[in-house]
Assembly symmetry: C2
Homo-oligomer: 229 residues x 2
C-alpha cells in the first residue's frame, strides 16, 4: 500500500474501480472480502466499505450472505444506463452552450490532442481517456452534482462495453469529440446534441444491445411467475 490517500477505504475503492473498468476483474467474478483484503494488506472492514460504495455506483452487486460480485449488467440494465447517459450528456451540452468557461475550449482541445496521441492503441489508457473526455465536459458545467452522475454512468458504460462489445478500439471516435467541441463553440446545441446522440449511439450499437436475445430473466418473465414462490 504505497498509497497515502485520505483513507484506506478511498484507496481500495479507487483500486478496485480501476481494476474493474480495466477488465482485470471481469464481470461476474467473485470478490470475497478477506481475499481482497489480504491482497491489499488491509482488513475486511476496509474492503467492505469499498464494496458498499462500488455497489452504489453500480459496478458491483452484493447478494445477501453470498458476497460481492463484479456487476454483470443485463442488456436491459445496459440500455437503461445508456439511456440515462444520453439524457445527462445532452443536458451537459445544453448547459455548456450557455456558459462554457473561458479556459474550457483549451482544456477540451488539449484532451483531444492527448487522445489523438494514443490513437490506434487499444490499451487501458485509451479506454480511460475516451471516458474522461465526457467527464471533462461535465466538469466544465461547474456543477459537481451533475459531474458525479455523468462519471458514474460513463464508468458503468465502460463496464458494459467490456461485457458486450467485440472490440474496445475506437470506443469514442476522436474526431466526433472534435465536432462536438466545435458545435458547442458555435452555440449550436441542437447540432452538438445530434452529434452526441450519434456518437453514443455508435458506442451503444457496438455493444449489440438490441440485436441479441435478452437476459434469461426477461425471457422467462414472459412465461409467467407461477413458480416464483
Amino acid at each position: 500500500m504505497s498509497e497515502d490517500k485520505a483513507t484506506l477505504t478511498d484507496a481500495v475503492h479507487d483500486l478496485l474501480r480501476k481494476a474493474i473498468i480495466e477488465q482485470a476483474l471481469k464481470p461476474g467474478m467473485r470478490l470475497p472480502e478477506d481475499t481482497v483484503g489480504e491482497q491489499f494488506g488491509v482488513s475486511r472492514t476496509i474492503v467492505r466499505h469499498a464494496l458498499v460504495r462500488l455497489e452504489h455506483e453500480g459496478l458491483v452487486i452484493t447478494r445477501r450472505n453470498r458476497g460481492a460480485f463484479v456487476a454483470e449488467p443485463s442488456r436491459d440494465e445496459a440500455q437503461n444506463v445508456f439511456e440515462v447517459r444520453r439524457c445527462l450528456e445532452n443536458d451537459v451540452i445544453r448547459l455548456l452552450c450557455e456558459r462554457m468557461p473561458r479556459s474550457g475550449y483549451d482544456r477540451l482541445e488539449a484532451h483531444v490532442r492527448q487522445e489523438e496521441s494514443v490513437r490506434g492503441k487499444d490499451g487501458p489508457v485509451s479506454i480511460r481517456l475516451a471516458g474522461e473526455f465526457h467527464v471533462l465536459l461535465a466538469e466544465l458545467t461547474g456543477n459537481p452534482v451533475l459531474t458525479r452522475y455523468v462519471s458514474e454512468v460513463v464508468l458503468r458504460c465502460s463496464l458494459i462495453m467490456s461485457l458486450y462489445a467485440r472490440s474496445h478500439s475506437s470506443d469514442c471516435a476522436v474526431d466526433e469529440h472534435s465536432q462536438i467541441i466545435e458545435a458547442i463553440r458555435a452555440g449550436d446545441a441542437q447540432r452538438a446534441i445530434q452529434i452526441m446522440e450519434h456518437h453514443l449511439g455508435a458506442v451503444a450499437g457496438r455493444a449489440e444491445l438490441s440485436a441479441h436475445p435478452d437476459s434469461i430473466q426477461s425471457i422467462l418473465s414472459h412465461y409467467g411467475k407461477e413458480l416464483a414462490q
Copy 2:
C-alpha cells in the same frame, strides 16, 4: 428494532434518511456513531455503514476523524442540485411522452388524489407525498437508473428546502401536478416541461437561493486563495 429489513444497515439507513428529510435531524447536527448506535440499539458498525451510504446520497457529510454531520448545502450546492433536478425531470417528461405505460395515468391520478386529501396540512406526510409524485413520474419511465438519480435529487431538495424555505406548505402545488399529467397525456412535451420548470422554479424560488449572500466560502473565494495553505 421491530424492523425486519433485509439488513440492519438498510433499516438504520432508511430511518436516518427519514429523520433527516423530516427535519427531526436538522442540518449541521452531529451524528456520532455510538450515540446513534445506542439510540437504535445497534453497534457502530451498522451506523457507520449507513452513514457511508447517506454521504454518497449527499444527505450527510463526513469530515475526516471528525465524524458525520447532517449536510448543510451551501446556496451554491443547492443551486447545483436544483439544476440537476430540472435536467432530470425534463428528461423524465420527454421519455414519458413517448412511452407512458398503460396504468401510468391511473397511478398518477391516484397519487394526486392522495395529495389533495392532505391539502393544507404541513406535516411530514405532505412533504413526503410531494416528493413522491416526482419519484413516481421517474418510475413510470421504467428506468431504475434514472429513478434512483431522481430520488436522490428530490431527497436532497427536501433537505435544502428545510434549510432555506420559510414555509414548507405547498412545496408542490397539487394542481400543477395535475397540469403536468395532462400535458403528458396530450403528448405535449414542451408544455409539460414548461410547467415543470415553472413548478420547480417556484419551489426553488421559495428557497431564496439567489436573494441572499452566498456561503462564506464562495464569498472568500473571490479574494484569492493565497492563504489557502
